[in-house]
Subunit: 214 residues, 2 copies
């Protein structure tokens, strides 16, 4: 009997990304073995949390030695889905959208920006790196033709839901929402809130409350 692959809790997935980044570092330094205790202290976690999280991978540690860095890294890549490539479209060719389309870090991790869209006539036709800014009415056909599975919302909050609906209708399976607004999507479509401004506000709150507690 094959063990039912359970859904992995969100906090665990989020730490998996941290493990991946850390192991990637270690591999670059030529480290071969690492213990749950080492990983934990590098990231501010207990070793128990680390070991419990890693149980979700098809990979085992070795009693007395820890985890083999390269093996764990490969297993994390597979788990997270960055052993494959992802085709991405950015909607909104403002400062943020353009920066995302040009950000070198994406392709390093397997995310390829294949298209960028905007409603603004003055932006349409302009170049952003190797891409040309396309009008919104080209979105459905482009998403299909380019087999794009992730859409990035770099549009004003008021437009976010409408654009998300269009992306989903065109076939994307995931949406990265950079607007500070909640969007609703059908079951089976994934959304992740980038919360750039939201994070900044949380940071402001943290600083403010430290000052007051003084």
């Amino acid at each position: 009997m094959i063990k039912q692959k359970n859904r992995v809790p969100q906090p665990v997935v989020s730490r998996m990304v941290q493990y991946f980044a850390h192991l990637d570092d270690l591999a670059g330094q030529g480290v071969e073995w690492v213990s749950s205790f080492d990983i934990g202290s590098s990231l501010g976690l207990t070793s128990a949390t680390v070991r419990r999280d890693l149980v979700h991978l098809d990979f085992s540690g070795t009693t007395n030695r820890g985890y083999r860095v390269q093996g764990l890294l490969d297993s994390l890549s597979g788990f997270l889905g960055i052993d494959q490539t992802w085709r991405v479209a950015v909607v909104g060719a403002g400062n943020l959208g353009k920066a995302l389309a040009l950000h070198a870090e994406w392709s390093r991790r397997g995310f390829y920006i294949r298209a960028i869209f905007d409603v603004d006539r003055r932006k349409i036709g302009k170049r952003v790196g190797a891409l040309e800014v396309l009008p919104m009415d080209k979105l459905p056909q482009t998403v299909r033709a380019e087999k794009i599975s992730i859409g990035v919302l770099a549009v004003p909050a008021e437009e976010a839901q409408k654009v998300a609906d269009l992306l989903i209708a065109s076939g994307v399976q995931g949406i990265m929402n950079l607007a500070l607004t909640h969007i609703v999507v059908p079951f089976r479509t994934h959304v992740l809130d980038g919360r750039l401004v939201g994070n900044m506000i949380e940071l402001a709150h943290g600083i403010k409350s430290t000052r007051e507690t003084r």
Copy 2:
């Protein structure tokens, strides 16, 4: 006796930002009253969670009517610290750093970008909007002179810790880390991980696991 102001749990703070954004919307639409049930259904939360969260504010609802939108919005602004202005420096004048320095959304919420720095000789002296890219050795004096309290890391992961240390030594109280790496800061300094690439990876994982569960 004054009630001890307890630390508010992180998940609550994060929802407070959502409430703020939603109430800001409602206020813009001229809505005057809102119930915990309404807020909850707009954001995908239970009304109990909303009511319990709002207890942390110096603001009460009205039995039978709900919460007055404008009052709740003001109270949320005060709680989050966006009733004041924040002076910000960006480190890293690459695509992402420049986009952040130009992003209009920041000033709308009270975050003013007062300086941008880079190590790259070719970037130093160039203009980014109204700002001039400054060399790193001008950072300490500029942070002090401009009374900057938040630093944004838009630098490669390898540089992040070093730049964070410099920012903190120069007096910033909070750091927004956009690099995919864990940084360590002294007690009383706040860090928030922007996790742009990290979020994208989490999204990829979500899509991948949905496909596999099919």
